[in-house]
Subunit: 424 residues, 2 copies
């Protein structure tokens, strides 16, 4: 079965706002085995709106629309769709009462204009919306289904899941979408593609998407079938082949960010971590503490931009800084070992480098970063040359630091394969 | 003049990818005084593609399309548009040579399939694309203009600016867009709306948009006219009225983030700053060091999650922590003053609170945050109760801390108005 998504609202045709509801809607429709054929963004003008709905209903049996259900004159979705389907608009007293009750709870008077939101096309089902004043609407017309949903994502999403999904489920066949998401770091997009292309091209019924995100590559596998067991078998088989092709570069099998993988490893192993950052300016500490409960493993961190702070907070000898330079392998190691020693943590991480745009030299260009991980089994240090702007370099450096912790657990003190930085 | 934007590509109809080119294109078109009437996302299917282009060309004189210019069988934009306009596709030898040269530079063989990218609809102008193999195309057909651009944003954007913009400029009237963006913090969306609505509703020719972003409200003013002087006068007048209505809550007149405003203030005043963070986990240090050149004013920061670290790094007396609790006004002040004292900075910032989801109590629920700013004129401390999830609470807390630095310079040690936290 196929569907189209229409996002209604003139604000979505300005440079400031993007329709993001459609990503959520597409994912949910895909899970039901419904493919999205087209997405349209249209402003609050009656003729254009009518044309968009008419064309969509001529092409597909399912149309999901968001927005244009507000109380003001320029909210035209209800009227337009009713007219298009030749239905009268009737006032629904239950909706009137719900809107009045909502205003009473907020201790405000209900403006008369809100009564527009109680107008319902004849024969439509009202989808109650406890999170806002505009209810959704569900209309079946011969073989076609139309869902009209409010625009704010925090209203649209629960409304769709609770009320539209069950109605669609009753009407669609047993075909469902099955999905896996692997995440990879330390390999560029074209390298990932090169390694896994010979595998995924063998599976005509599985759709593979490779997406580049900052510091990582995301691989999506999707297949549509009625048979959950068969889908599981095929997806597992592909994942196993990808594991052989990509080795220890896969850091997640469930689409979670690297800091979450590392948090889980630290928690499971009852380990703790402390950080001493220069060029990343606290981003590593910030990523490690994004995760709820991070106080169980994150003992503390310092952002030591100045040489004096490197000495005061991480015991880096001033002579070392003058002899080797603040951006050097020795200083990265001293930062990692110093912060680990002074906090008594399982791991200490040290990062020093040049994030740019200024500060680079011929010998140490922008993007030069030294990253060290100290633990009971010794200290590993990596020198990397990272591409991109300041933001990208800082993020990528923290990604490598986190990955060094992950890889530590893979090899548990045993020799590790030599790691060559390979961005695209 | 009106335009439509068509984004071509089946990947844009999956849950993983959003067409973001259209935001850039809309902004550029708006600047020329061209309004965007509709945005369509359509997959790589010939009939659907043809329908999308035909309908758009029936509605508007300008159609800008992105994507579908690649070398493979499913890249159909060229063929579809040529057929629709009744033009033959001819091989352009200059394009062939450019593509061959590109492959030679990358030291790779050119696959024969890339020759498809040298096919040009009769009478079309080739828009050279030094950043990729697919050139853009510009087609004028009676009163209509069509630009076909490659999908990757890093190819599309410069191609549009360098080659499409001048062609459009020649054809449009002298009407241009003039734009201002104010940013406000410490007031919720509905409070901003309430205060400025009586002002902006008086200006029928200026379009006002109020957008809520994390920790701030953005106010966009747009007007379209031929007369730059007149536009400047009206926009200045509105901005001055907004300043009266919103007072010191406006932190930027040019749409820049708060850390940039604070960085500028610190640099201008040759001031320095140091941070001691608990619940924000390094986010404040990270935001202060996002700005290039931050080593001129950022002396260093500590992330002291544990009580022991608060004492070791920011000289917070252990007795104070046991008596008042780690989340208390006293500890926030001690963190700010301690880190300022030990680094000798102009400002010291201390943040301690409960970011959640766990750790809250009846007395100190999730969202309770104490923020202190220490300087030569004394220490200010604010207790706030922030709404939202862990990420929102952490961001909002750093936003308030940065704003306290900004406000310090507004009043320069003189009494400040009492600040009540007013999220929506």
């Amino acid at each position: 079965m196929k569907a189209e998504i229409i996002a209604v609202g003139s604000e979505l045709l300005t440079p400031d706002r993007l329709d993001t509801n459609s990503l959520f809607l597409t994912e949910e429709l895909n899970k039901l085995g419904i493919e999205v054929l087209r997405k349209t963004v249209v402003g609050d003008e009656r003729d254009l709106l009518a044309e968009a709905f008419r064309d969509a209903l001529n092409r597909v049996p399912v149309v999901i629309a968001s927005g244009g259900l507000g109380p003001t004159e320029d909210d035209l979705t209800r009227e337009t769709v009713a007219e298009l389907l030749g239905r009268r608009l009737l006032r629904d007293e239950a909706v009137v009462r719900a809107i009045e009750a909502r205003f009473r709870r907020l201790k405000r008077d209900m403006p008369a204009v809100n009564l527009r939101q109680a107008m319902v096309p004849e024969g439509a089902e009202v989808l109650e919306n406890p999170r806002g004043t505009a209810p959704g609407l569900w209309i079946e017309d011969k073989d076609r289904m139309v869902a009209l949903l409010p625009g704010p994502p925090r209203e649209l999403k629960p409304l769709f899941v609770e009320q539209v999904l069950p109605r669609l489920q009753r009407r669609v066949s047993g075909v469902k979408m099955f999905h896996r998401e692997l995440r990879v770091t330390g390999l560029g997009e074209s390298h990932v593609e090169e390694r896994i292309r010979p595998i995924y091209t063998r599976y005509a019924n599985v759709h593979t998407t490779i997406l580049a995100a900052p510091g990582e590559i995301q691989i999506h596998l999707r297949t549509w079938t009625e048979d959950a067991t068969q889908a599981g078998t095929i997806l597992d088989e592909i994942v196993r082949s990808f594991e052989l092709a990509l080795g220890d570069r896969i850091f997640a099998h469930s689409g979670v960010p690297l800091e979450e993988v590392v948090a889980e490893l630290l928690a499971t192993n009852r380990a703790t971590i402390a950080t001493a950052e220069s060029c990343t300016g606290g981003l590593l500490a910030e990523r490690l503490t994004r995760i709820p409960g991070s106080s169980n493993y994150f003992l503390g961190g310092v952002v030591c931009y100045s040489n004096e702070r490197k000495t005061a907070w991480a015991e880096v000898p001033p002579e070392m800084i003058s002899a080797k330079g603040a951006v050097s392998a020795e200083v990265a190691v001293a930062l990692a070992e110093g912060v680990r020693r002074s906090l008594g943590s399982t791991f200490g991480v040290g990062i020093t480098g040049i994030a740019g745009p200024g500060g680079g030299s011929e010998e140490k260009p922008v993007g030069t970063v030294h990253i060290a991980l100290a633990s009971a089994t010794g200290t590993r240090e990596r020198l990397v040359h990272l591409p991109g702007d300041r933001e990208a370099i800082r993020f990528y450096a923290t990604q490598i630091a986190l990955d060094m912790v992950r890889v530590h657990y893979l090899y548990d003190g045993k020799p590790q394969p030599r790691r060559v930085n390979s961005g695209d």
